[in-house]
């Protein structure tokens, strides 16, 4: 599922519905407990991760980077960009909105921009996304998120106007 080259994917769900669902799936003590439990039981973790993979592949073209940016990209997956850009579109988007690598396919960041604008959440796109941890490919991003491993994956919106904190150093574990 992740061996094919990344290419722009138009999400199959509305951003509004996902934003609503996110409230339920947001970090809380219950989900934290679930993440701890899953991490302790590898077979269960495997099944859970497979389910996540299937659902998110179908909806977002998910490539299982294991550190999900969807909540702040209007649920258009940046890892489906051929350059896997996390911080917005490159300079090669055609005047008609096509991806420079796959003419005829709409730039996934353009899709993200349009969806974010519709939802009044353009500010999300201003967040600086730090480099991803390449060791997390294939892991469950839901577990990583609930467990708090994703803290600092992106900056606050305000950091756009005031210089952002220096890059958080990734743990070396």
């Amino acid at each position: 599922m992740t061996t094919d080259l990344p290419r722009p994917f138009k999400p199959r769900t509305a951003a509004a519905a996902m934003n609503a669902l996110h409230v339920v799936l947001d970090r809380n003590p219950l989900w934290y407990a679930v993440s701890v439990l899953l991490m302790k039981m590898p077979p269960l973790y495997g099944v859970f991760t497979l389910l996540e993979r299937l659902v998110k592949y179908r909806l977002f073209g998910c490539r299982m980077c294991g550190q999900c940016a969807l909540p702040v990209t209007a649920y258009a997956c940046p890892m489906t960009c051929p350059k896997q850009l996390r911080n917005g579109p490159c300079g090669g988007v055609s005047p008609d909105g096509s991806c420079e690598v796959y003419p005829g396919m709409r730039c996934v960041w353009l899709i993200a921009y349009e969806r974010a604008t519709e939802e009044g959440r353009q500010g999300d796109l201003r967040r600086l996304q730090r480099p991803i941890d390449q060791r997390k490919w294939g892991q469950s991003s839901w577990v990583n998120y609930w467990h708090g491993d994703d803290e600092g994956l992106w900056t606050a919106e305000e950091d756009f106007d005031n210089a952002p904190p220096l890059l958080p150093v990734l743990s070396s574990k």
Partner: protein, 341 residues
């Protein structure tokens, strides 16, 4: 020549310790800056770079040395930078994320600082699909914004992404690129804002042929206050032939040439296209100079660098500081040739 850039000297001068960058000094003094692009050759020979550097020396404040531009293999930017330095031209080392992971990127940045290359231009890079090795593995471990952020961290926090300390910490004048003509047009200024937040101190734009779109983008840049945090150098370049024009329109990603420009170039006899392209380029420079917040121009004439002095002269941009003055700067500065052995 006018000595004011919008009457404002960007705050960058206060935020960063003065780099050994002549380009930065020119911009901070509010002088209209001129940079140009030098493409290294495909082959193990430095004389083409030498020739181009000599040609441009009196006319520019710094020269960008491209980094396997358009995903076509060429001599590396750092090597080209050393050659232009020997010719008394200050280099801007371009560095892209397509061919390197974060280890190689940070390593090259350290090399630049250690060799006295005072300016770096950090970009994502064209996809290999457009180059001479479409079968290559695209790296894109970091994107341009993350690379700019990393460079700033190396300079100010004196650390690598790993957290390891750097002794001594490197220093460069950090640059970025932006394309005001690629969708979403209304978000391009904000994207520059992200680069500025990450640490970009100057930006060079994509080729400008549509002055209307550029003017609107600059308005948004000013509204976000970015022209006071980052020096904007407007990207321009001459069209040499109708074939080059078609290549730009059809094959170069992110290029936008409006119909009136196409009509103008097609409207002249075949042997007059180059002259018309040169004239058009000069006119564009003169026009962008009048736009508030534009701190300089960046001239890209790939394979036609010979035309640059005439273009600048016609646009009313006189020769820069004399080579003698430039070389006088070299004592312990960015032109220290002792590093070359």
């Amino acid at each position: 020549m006018t000595d004011s850039v919008n009457g404002v000297v960007p705050a960058a001068s206060e935020t960063y310790r003065s780099a050994a960058s002549h380009l930065q000094a020119v911009l901070q003094r509010g002088r209209f800056a001129v940079t140009a692009e030098i493409g290294p050759p495909r082959g193990a020979n430095i004389s083409p770079i030498r020739r181009k550097a000599r040609l441009l020396r009196d006319w520019i404040d710094a020269a960008n040395v491209t980094d396997s531009q358009s995903a076509v293999v060429r001599m590396p930017s750092w090597a080209g930078c050393l050659v232009v330095m020997q010719e008394g031209v200050e280099p801007v080392m371009q560095l892209q994320c397509r061919d390197r992971n974060r280890i190689a990127l940070q390593s090259d940045l350290l090399g630049a600082a250690a060799l006295g290359i005072p300016n770096v231009l950090l970009l994502t890079g064209d996809h290999p699909r457009f180059g001479d090795h479409p079968d290559a593995k695209p790296v894109f471990d970091l994107d341009s914004i993350q690379l700019i952020w990393t460079a700033r961290m190396m300079r100010e926090q004196r650390k690598l992404l790993s957290g390891r300390e750097l002794k001594p910490a490197p220093d460069w004048f950090i640059g970025a690129v932006e394309n005001p003509f690629a969708p979403p047009l209304n978000w391009r200024a904000e994207r520059l804002g992200k680069k500025v937040a990450a640490g970009a101190q100057f930006v060079q734009t994509q080729f400008i042929y549509d002055i209307g779109v550029f003017t609107r983008w600059m308005e948004q840049v000013r509204n976000l206050g970015l022209d006071r945090k980052c020096f904007v150098l407007a990207g321009v370049g001459p069209v040499k032939s109708l074939r080059a024009l078609e290549h730009m329109r059809q094959e170069v990603p992110g290029m936008y040439v409006p119909d009136d420009v196409v009509r103008r170039l097609r409207g002249v006899p075949g042997d007059r296209v180059a002259a018309e392209g040169l004239k058009l380029c000069s006119e564009l420079i003169a026009e962008v100079r009048t736009i508030p917040g534009v701190a300089g121009v960046h001239v890209m004439a790939f394979g036609w660098e010979d035309a640059i002095p005439e273009i600048l002269e016609r646009a009313g941009l006189t020769r820069r500081v004399s080579p003698g003055d430039l070389l006088a700067r070299s004592a312990g500065g960015p032109f220290d040739e002792s590093v070359l052995g």
